[in-house]
């Protein structure tokens, strides 16, 4: 048994076939995701570098405490938890779409793809609201750069930060925090957006029977890989900006 396996694995690398029994497209997707992981990795490491060189840092519980239609209620991290939950749910529906594809169940693919697209759009809408809300509070790329006035940034810091630190570093820290926040969540949001576009394309192809004619639903799988990757990246972004 084991010798047979060894012989088999040897012959796989002898040429004339794919050594992993994978199509080129799927291997390419894996390598692309690895490449993309380095892009996000570089962003998050840059964020870490700047953050740990900074004497104080905004407190996520203070920055992210608003909820749509909840007025001034103090609901720290509730909204982002909802966003995260939506995105993870859309990963679940994506798994089901891929599974339906394996079973060549066209109706199933259409149904679960639709839910995934909805999840993606819901996530993007939440993000748009959050950005709009933060912008309303004065945050943006480059905000608080020249700020001597502490009123707009005071609310972003925990009460334990000393008044001196706040005066000396408050505006700078908020400036740096939001620069990274908008760049990195923006870059991630752009990935979600392109994922939604791919998913819509897949949905249209499925409905038009393109994959039935091809005889397989591999494209659904490739998009699934991308979608799960984008979700995984969110877990890191979420951890860095909202939890730590």
């Amino acid at each position: 048994m084991s010798t047979a396996a060894v012989a088999d694995s040897k012959s796989k690398w002898m040429g004339g076939e794919s050594p992993f029994h994978l199509s080129y497209g799927k291997i390419m997707m894996w390598f692309f995701l690895m490449s993309d992981a380095f892009t996000f990795g570089a962003f998050l490491i840059s964020y870490g570098t700047i953050r740990f060189a900074s004497p104080i840092w905004p407190d996520p519980n203070m920055v992210f405490k608003a909820f749509p239609f909840a007025g001034h209620a103090n609901l720290p991290l509730m909204f982002v938890s909802l966003m995260t939950f939506i995105l993870i749910l859309s990963s679940v529906t994506m798994v089901l779409a891929v599974h339906a594809g394996h079973c060549r169940d066209k109706k199933g693919v259409v149904k679960w793809m639709l839910w995934t697209i909805l999840g993606g759009i819901a996530f993007l809408s939440c993000q748009a609201w959050e950005w709009w809300h933060l912008n309303h509070e004065g945050a943006w790329w480059g905000a608080f750069r020249d700020g001597m006035d502490l009123t707009p940034v005071k609310g972003f810091f925990a009460g334990t930060v000393s008044a001196t630190d706040l005066v000396v570093h408050g505006a700078d820290s908020a400036h740096k925090f939001f620069n990274f926040f908008f760049t990195i969540t923006g870059f991630h949001g752009f990935h979600v957006f392109s994922g939604v576009v791919f998913n819509i394309m897949i949905l249209v192809f499925t409905m038009n029977g393109v994959f039935d004619r091809k005889g397989h639903y591999e494209w659904v799988e490739k998009c699934g890989l991308y979608w799960h990757f984008v979700d995984l990246v969110w877990v890191f972004v979420f951890t860095c900006f909202y939890l730590l």
């Binding site: 690398w13 002898m14 040429g15 004339g16 076939e17 794919s18 050594p19 992993f20 994978l22 199509s23 080129y24 497209g25 291997i27 390419m28 390598f31 692309f32 690895m34 490449s35 993309d36 380095f38 892009t39 996000f40 990795g41 570089a42 962003f43 840059s46 570098t49 700047i50 060189a53 900074s54 790329w141 480059g142 750069r145 020249d146 700078d172 820290s173 400036h175 740096k176 620069n179 990274f180 760049t183 870059f187 091809k214 591999e218």
Partner: protein, 619 residues
């Protein structure tokens, strides 16, 4: 029997998966029919044939090599003859060189664009783009790349990047001028210098497109090598060129994205008021508002790409040299597995040494020590490779052909330039040597000229396969000797200047007593540089004339160097799809140079089956 792939043109997004479908005997035939009907634009411009795309990369690379070389001639005129004026400067540079004397601004612009285009457009796009494209399908036995469409996009992203970079030379405020590394704050603040304006934006746009091109190409190369080898072409039968291209692509796919991140943050610093890289900067006495960023952060991100980049340049040249040395010395490559392991070792170490470019940024000496250790470790696989090249030609039946001379020159330059790398990799010595002409000499010899020699070896060696004709030998010899001697004349003296502390990037040294002693040396370097530049025009002339006038190959002389690899089993001028009938099967490794028991020649091609009555089965 046959392991015909489905033809790439009709089902290009599928054939990777269907590589073992058999029986497509007439696909090749169908295909030729199809090709005759192809429009000129599809055949030569938006071509999906890897062979055409490779030539597009090569010719674009040659354009940039001439442009970048001409820039170096211009700034060498300034460095060698700081007191004189030259009509040619005002002819080419116009208002940038009124009265034949170039402005400092354009001097910095030319130095920057010279570095950028030679590193990225010539020695990455032009080298890896040309030879990975040309050789991967031909040498592994595939009809084309896994995705010919992405391959075409890869070239066109490169072309658009080229156009934008070229356009930046003509904007009012001049091209980017902060050096090819484009360190902030110079590159981040529009007010900092003339070149920090639109020129810098165009530089960033062009580089972003180049990164996309490199990603599309790299993914294709990796997947094609893994998935599309012909039957019998196991990994250990791959020519070393393919191993080198595979790891080059891996390096590119994993390091360029980090440059993309660096560029995105830089763009925000330039246009959105952020302070990722900026802190407490004064321009003309004016305090800038940015506080809290880190210019060193950019350097880390840049060199995380920048260091692997030099191996992206070196590995293809190494692969080509291995192939050419073995073929023209009529001997099997020495230490094939050691070569593969060395390439792998270099690939891994390439990611772990970037901070040796930053020893003097104030990093902890302890951290510097770690980077010294990791840097010096690279000497091991490099030395293994050099040893194997020398042992390969040892007692070989050496044919001093054009490609062989360039491959030998490559080894010589790689040794000379590599040894000075050991000096620079030492953080204590680097305090004195960094940012001097010693560095300029080191990297020009080891990754500039030596990679160029690898590339020339490749062009002379595979030109017959590219165009079905030979290049002119005599011109090739002149090209080699002038370039080889000239390269040493240009760069050897720079070591002395560097040890004496002469800094790089200066516009004029004549006002320093300690450096004006090198005035005559600088003159000599400049004269040699001009001569070497014109020798390259000879090569370009040879290349283009030989396309139409070179000695034609016939079916009999279709393998002019007596190579063992699969590309020479194709017709003299292969069409799209490469082989007319079935793709050959591979039965032996790529370096079977010995007495051929079948026809008495001194080599056995990879597709010759093993007859146990005539030879051992272990090959």
């Amino acid at each position: 029997m046959s392991n015909e792939t489905q033809h790439s043109v009709d089902t290009h997004e599928e054939h990777g998966a269907n590589i073992h479908t058999s029986g497509g005997h007439d696909h090749g035939h169908d295909h030729h029919h199809e090709e005759h009907e192809q429009h000129f634009f599809l055949k030569y411009v938006f071509s999906m044939d890897h062979k055409i795309i490779s030539r597009q990369f090569l010719i674009t690379g040659m354009f940039w090599a001439i442009a970048g070389g001409l820039m170096s001639v211009f700034f060498r005129l300034q460095l060698g003859f700081p007191e004189d004026t030259f009509q040619v400067l005002s002819t080419f540079l116009g208002d940038w060189a009124k009265g034949g004397k170039m402005d400092p601004e354009i001097y910095y612009g030319l130095v920057t664009i010279h570095g950028t285009v030679l590193v990225f457009f010539v020695l990455t796009g032009g080298l890896s783009g040309t030879f990975s494209n040309f050789l991967i399908p031909l040498q592994i036995g595939a009809r084309d790349m896994a995705s010919p469409f992405m391959n075409m996009l890869s070239y066109w992203f490169f072309a658009v990047a080229s156009v934008i970079m070229f356009a930046s030379l003509f904007v009012h405020t001049g091209p980017a001028s902060g050096g090819w590394t484009t360190y902030p704050p110079l590159s981040a603040m529009k007010e900092a210098s003339m070149g920090s304006g639109v020129g810098m934006d165009l530089w960033l746009t062009s580089m972003a497109l180049f990164i996309v091109s490199s990603l599309l190409g790299g993914l294709n190369y990796i997947v094609t090598v893994l998935n599309m080898r012909t039957k019998g072409m196991s990994m250990k039968r791959l020519p070393l060129t393919i191993w080198a291209f595979l790891f080059t692509a891996v390096l590119g796919v994993l390091s360029f994205p980090v440059l993309l991140s660096a560029a995105v943050l830089l763009i925000f610093d330039r246009h959105m008021g952020t302070s990722f890289y900026l802190s407490e900067i004064f321009i003309a006495g004016q305090a800038m508002p940015n506080v809290g960023g880190s210019a060193i952060l950019y350097q880390h991100l840049f060199w995380f790409l920048g260091h692997p980049e030099v191996y992206i340049i070196m590995l293809p040249a190494m692969g080509i040299a291995s192939e050419v040395l073995a073929t023209h010395a009529r001997k099997p490559i020495f230490g094939y597995f050691a070569m593969v392991i060395s390439i792998l070792g270099i690939t891994v170490l390439a990611f772990l040494v970037w901070a040796h470019h930053m020893f003097v940024t104030g990093m902890s000496p302890f951290l510097g020590g770690i980077f010294v250790l990791l840097t010096l470790l690279i000497a091991i696989p490099s030395a293994v490779k050099v040893f194997n090249w020398l042992t390969t030609i040892w007692k070989g039946n050496i044919k001093f052909t054009n490609p062989m001379l360039f491959a030998l020159g490559f080894v010589s330059l790689f040794i000379s330039g590599g040894l000075t790398g050991i000096f620079l990799g030492n953080s204590a010595l680097d305090i004195h040597l960094h940012d001097t002409y010693f560095v300029v000499a080191h990297f020009h010899i080891v990754m500039g000229i030596s990679a160029f020699f690898g590339m020339f070896a490749g062009v002379y060696h595979w030109f017959p396969k590219m165009y079905g004709r030979m290049m002119n030998k005599t011109l090739g010899y002149i090209h080699f000797f002038v370039t080889f001697i000239g390269a040493y004349v240009i760069f050897w003296p720079m070591h002395y200047e560097g040890v004496a502390g002469m800094p790089r990037r200066y516009y004029d040294f004549s006002s320093w007593q300690s450096f004006s002693q090198f005035g005559d040396l600088n003159k000599m370097i400049s004269i040699a540089a001009i001569i070497v530049f014109f020798a390259q025009l000879l090569f370009v002339f040879n290349y283009f004339v030989s396309i139409w006038r070179g000695k034609k190959l016939t079916e009999k002389t279709s393998n002019p160097w007596g190579s063992t690899t699969l590309e020479w089993t194709t017709p003299v001028k292969p069409g799209h799809g490469n082989w007319e009938g079935d793709i050959p099967e591979v039965h032996r490794w790529a370096y079977d140079f010995r007495e051929n028991p079948y026809d008495g020649s001194d080599f056995i091609m990879q597709d010759v089956p093993i007859d146990p009555t005539k030879e051992d089965e272990e090959h």
